[in-house]
């Protein structure tokens, strides 16, 4: 009798069994991949950072350097194991030609170095320390991935000729997140190039014990040593290297959680409708005193079989696909030494999925206990308590078509039943809308203003050169006479010491100039206007613990001066730590200055850029759109792809779940459908009733999903965006697509699925379901 109940169940429900198995396989594959990737990433990263002996502490510094003082500091500090200063020769991208391509459009700071002697080695693709000969050039790995050049190409750097001898892995600057890229040349070649660019120093330390890093950082800062540039620690290097693949792993984990959830819903629907089919039998079995646990076991066995086959399939797939996903890690970091463990962890991950599925099946089977013997025998189906919507009566309804009325009424009376479907639809519309709004937002023009970039066309950077102030004036003179330029402003960045509450001092980069010419968006307050006002980037405001209206003390020309914080803005430039003020100051060294300009005819930007480039070779001149594209382009593109993928995934989920749900409903409502037919309702009447049910649920789902997307989704997206340095995030919505096109697509998906899922209703025979 037990086995008759299960009977040819798997055969009978081929479709649903297969779908469930596919989902189990997908979940298993994703979890296994995530595990394999994690192990490989951490392994490869460890190998890379160990082999290349990444510095524990790095201070970049442009300007003069006092070797003796640094050496004596290193010798005296008991934590220091090794110490070195490496030169990084910054050369403008336009002077670097690799094979056919020049790096003129590169937003990276491209520089040249020689191989280190003690640590921070540059490695070849086999993980060995590169020994570079004269005339050879080793190129950062990212240019290989971007297909800029290949081994054997001729390279011309500021007129000097090289041969691309290979590619290098740089544990410091590998990551796309790192703004600089190191090329490797021989000592002799380096000497010849030395005066072709500006030199930056990398002051590097290896500590005896990494845990003393915090202590060492404080000691270095307190010693007031060279610090004209950013500081990077070992942990940050590690994070930057891991970030992009780490994000991928996070996304995979997120998607696998989603797939597991869908698997659960599939299982729930299948089991519940199976129980619905067997309601009478189960009731009878209970009535004659058979054990529930025996019945449960049969169902459980079936799912053990499905889940096991699915898991094995998923594992196979993950082995098949891992190569593709590991490509990036292998390219940037090399092989992991512990990759054999990875598969073990993959299996553990899969077992976890398997276990949770069986646990869930067991949980759903608890419903058996709830089957009432009396109801099962008397009515043959479960009797839900109809609740609510009492006043929504047919005899008072003149508004809705009767079929539509019946659909809506059913949803209103059986709220609990429809809740699962509603939840799925809410999640689906959420998943459709959020990535899309995110994409619209970050690709909109106004978004760059959130990022601290005003609405200008051309940007001239004057940095890493001497006499910045004179050079700036020279360019300004030209610009002020240029009729093609409709508006411009010069901004100079200087370092000032800011007094902290605890008496310590901290360096603050302040951008001085006219901030009203090209306004940016302030997340709070406004731009500085008075001499005693200052605006802080949100990261700085956080770190300095300042709010709008707070006072901050800067040391200017030896004197302490009080400023009030006039506003806070998001900034992605210069690591997000900037400040803006309008006071005049002639003292401190200028770190860099920029001139930003707007053209009366924006199509002329590229011409203007080449014109100014030819006149002012020392300046870096860029098209802002290009700057934005290079900085965000890949992010915008991946969000765009993700948003399309999200639409596809949600629609598939919607169709699938609606299909399963409708099948469940039809099984449950067999008697009612037969009664309707007996009373003279046609097949299409019944179809319309079911369509009204799903469209009604869908409308609620879309409304809730959209509301959630614009509140919770905005918050979530804001959290992601703030990692780029922007806050006060507001969605830019494309109403046509978000409020019309996407809902329409979902309506179509749901209607198609409803028609498909309810096709069985036509086959329901009156005579088989009404006992005469």
């Amino acid at each position: 009798m037990y086995f008759r109940i299960i009977g040819n169940d798997i055969l009978k429900n081929k479709m649903i069994t297969l779908v469930t198995m596919i989902f189990v396989a997908a979940a298993a594959m994703l979890v296994s991949l995530a595990a394999i990737l994690t192990i490989n990433l951490s392994g490869a990263l460890d190998t890379l950072m160990t082999k290349s002996k990444t510095p524990h502490f790095l201070q970049m510094h442009s300007g003069e350097i006092d070797h003796a003082r640094l050496t004596s500091f290193a010798e005296k500090n008991s934590n220091v194991d090794k110490f070195q200063v490496i030169e990084f020769l910054n050369i403008d991208g336009s002077e670097i030609i690799l094979g056919e391509n020049s790096l003129v459009d590169s937003v990276q700071d491209n520089g040249f170095s020689t191989q280190s002697e003690q640590f921070d080695y540059l490695l070849d693709l086999d993980g060995n320390i590169i020994n570079v000969s004269e005339g050879e050039l080793y190129v950062p790995i990212s240019y290989m991935r971007d297909n800029i050049t290949k081994v054997g190409d001729k390279a011309v750097i500021s007129g000097q000729e090289f041969v691309v001898a290979g590619f290098l892995r740089d544990s410091q600057m590998n990551s796309t997140l790192s703004a600089s890229k190191r090329f490797l040349v021989s000592e002799n070649d380096y000497e010849k190039m030395k005066n072709l660019g500006s030199i930056e120093h990398l002051i590097e330390f290896r500590l005896k014990d990494l845990s003393a890093l915090g202590e060492f950082e404080t000691a270095y800062a307190a010693a007031e040593l060279e610090a004209n540039g950013p500081t990077v620690t070992y942990t940050l290097f590690k994070m930057m290297n891991a970030l992009s693949d780490g994000m991928m792993i996070a996304v995979i984990l997120f998607v696998s959680a989603l797939v597991v959830a869908i698997t659960f819903i599939c299982i729930r629907f299948t089991l519940l409708s199976k129980m619905e089919d067997d309601y009478h039998e189960i009731g009878v079995m209970k009535a004659i005193g058979l054990r529930i646990s025996d019945i449960k076991r049969i169902y459980l066995v079936k799912y053990v079989a499905i889940a096991t086959v699915g898991s094995i399939l998923g594992f196979g797939l993950s082995i098949l696909f891992k190569g593709i996903l590991l490509e990036n890690i292998r390219l940037y970091m090399g092989e992991a030494e512990n990759s054999s463990f990875a598969i073990l962890f993959g299996i553990i991950g899969i077992l976890l999925v398997l276990f949770s599925i069986l646990l869930y099946v067991n949980g759903v089977l608890k419903h058996f206990r709830k089957i009432s013997v009396v109801e099962a025998i008397r009515f043959g189906t479960s009797q839900e308590k109809s609740s609510g919507a009492k006043r929504f009566c047919l005899n008072r309804n003149w508004l809705f078509n009767t079929n539509i009325f019946l659909g809506i009424k059913d949803v209103l009376t059986r709220k609990k039943l429809y809740a699962t479907m509603l939840a799925v639809l809410v999640v689906s519309s959420f998943i459709i809308i959020v990535p899309q709004n995110l994409y619209n937002t970050i690709s909109s023009k106004s978004f760059t203003q959130y990022m601290g970039i005003g609405d200008y066309d051309m940007r001239i950077d004057i940095q890493q050169t001497s006499n910045i102030s004179e050079k700036t004036d020279e360019i300004l003179k030209e610009i002020s006479n240029d009729r093609a330029i409709s508006n411009y402003a010069a901004l100079t960045t200087k370092i000032f010491k800011a007094k902290m509450e605890d008496g310590t001092e901290e360096n603050l980069k302040v951008e001085l100039g006219d901030h009203s010419a090209f306004p940016i968006a302030y997340s709070g307050g406004k731009a500085p206007v008075q001499e005693n006002e200052i605006a802080l980037s949100s990261i700085n405001a956080d770190e300095l613990n300042k709010k709008i209206g707070d006072r901050i003390t800067l040391v200017i020309e030896g004197e302490e001066k009080d400023f009030s914080v006039s506003g806070i803005y998001s900034d992605i430039t210069n690591g997000g730590k900037t400040a803006k003020a309008v006071f005049t100051d002639n003292s401190a060294d200028i770190m860099w200055s920029i001139i930003i300009a707007e053209l009366s005819d924006t199509s002329m930007v590229d011409n203007k850029i080449s014109e100014y480039l030819s006149k002012f070779g020392y300046a870096k001149i860029s098209n802002v759109d290009e700057f934005v594209t290079q900085t965000f382009g890949s992010t915008i593109r991946s969000v765009e792809t993700a948003s399309y993928a999200a639409v596809a995934v949600s629609l598939i989920i919607t169709v699938l779940i609606t299909l399963l749900f409708m099948k469940l409903l039809i099984a449950k409502d067999r008697t009612s459908i037969a009664a309707m037919k007996a009373l003279g309702f046609t097949k299409s009447d019944i179809r319309i009733q079911y369509m009204s049910r799903s469209v009604f649920v869908l409308i609620i789902g879309i409304v809730l999903g959209t509301l959630l997307a614009n509140t919770l989704g905005e918050l979530l997206a804001g959290a992601i965006i703030s990692s780029f340095g922007a806050d006060s995030f507001k969605f830019t919505v494309n109403p046509l697509s978000a409020y019309l096109l996407c809902p329409l697509m979902m309506v179509c998906a749901v209607l198609i699925a409803t028609v498909g899922g309810t096709s069985g209703a036509g086959q329901i025979k009156i005579s088989e379901n009404i006992k005469g």
Partner: protein, 252 residues
């Protein structure tokens, strides 16, 4: 006399190949307009199957069913639905009602599909019918809140709401006690008096004795027929005896 339903050598079978057997075996039957007829037979003799066949709810394997002047066996599903909805009424042994509608909504449901605009007059008619069968006070009740007899009365109201030409009753009193059964039969008699054809299926001699013609089924065929006079409230005992004797004679 005008025929309302003609079944001409209808055959209906279930099952596949070897297991196949004819539940209806070249059965022929004719019902006159305005008649009050009962079909009797042992349990499993195919009475319900015959009802489903005559009302177009189930197709037959061979033979022909004519309703009025239209051949049901040649019609599509939608046309059959239309006829059921507008010209026929059904009362089942178990009153089959939609669980999420209250009593009056269940009653007006068949009419509302096509005449939504007249909801007020349809509801009034439903209330009048309910009062007439003695459940006037139950209109807003849920179907789970009333007794089996009351539900069966509501089922009759639903069958009458569209002024059908014919009412089919498949053991309409089968689940009721004898007092309720008598009351229900009174209602059927009244309806018939007003001109509606009534075709009942039953295995209860007391029920059959209320009609004017009783047909007996066995082995998928109508094997015999008993004509009675129109019931006028008298001679009930002799009528029952006639039916019972015939049943014993046929071994039903």
């Amino acid at each position: 006399m005008k025929k309302i339903i003609i079944g001409d050598r209808i055959t209906k079978s279930f099952g596949e190949r070897e297991e196949q057997r004819n539940v209806l075996d070249e059965l022929s039957i004719e019902i006159n307009e305005g008649e009050f007829v009962a079909i009797m037979g042992a349990s499993g003799s195919g009475k319900s199957t015959l009802m489903f066949a005559l009302s177009g709810m189930d197709e037959v394997n061979s033979g022909k069913v004519v309703f009025g002047d239209r051949d049901l066996s040649a019609m599509g599903e939608n046309e059959l639905s239309d006829i059921r909805r507008t010209k026929m009424g059904f009362v089942f042994q178990q009153p089959i009602m939609l669980k999420n509608l209250n009593i009056i909504d269940n009653i007006i449901l068949p009419m509302m599909r096509d005449n939504r605009k007249n909801v007020a007059s349809i509801s009034d008619k439903a209330r009048a019918l309910m009062k007439r069968v003695g459940i006037g006070e139950l209109e807003e009740h849920d179907i789970t809140q009333v007794s089996g007899g009351q539900l069966q009365r509501a089922g009759i109201c639903r069958a009458l709401i569209n002024n059908p030409k014919i009412i089919f009753g498949d053991e309409p009193t089968g689940a009721l006690n004898s007092k309720s059964a008598q009351e229900i039969m009174n209602i059927f008699s009244e309806i018939n008096e007003e001109g509606t054809t009534v075709l009942l299926v039953t295995h209860d001699a007391k029920v059959a004795a209320r009609t004017e013609r009783v047909m007996f089924m066995r082995d998928g065929k109508i094997v015999s027929e008993l004509k009675l006079s129109k019931y006028d409230g008298t001679n009930m005992d002799t009528r029952i005896e006639k039916v019972t004797r015939k049943m014993i004679e046929l071994g039903i």
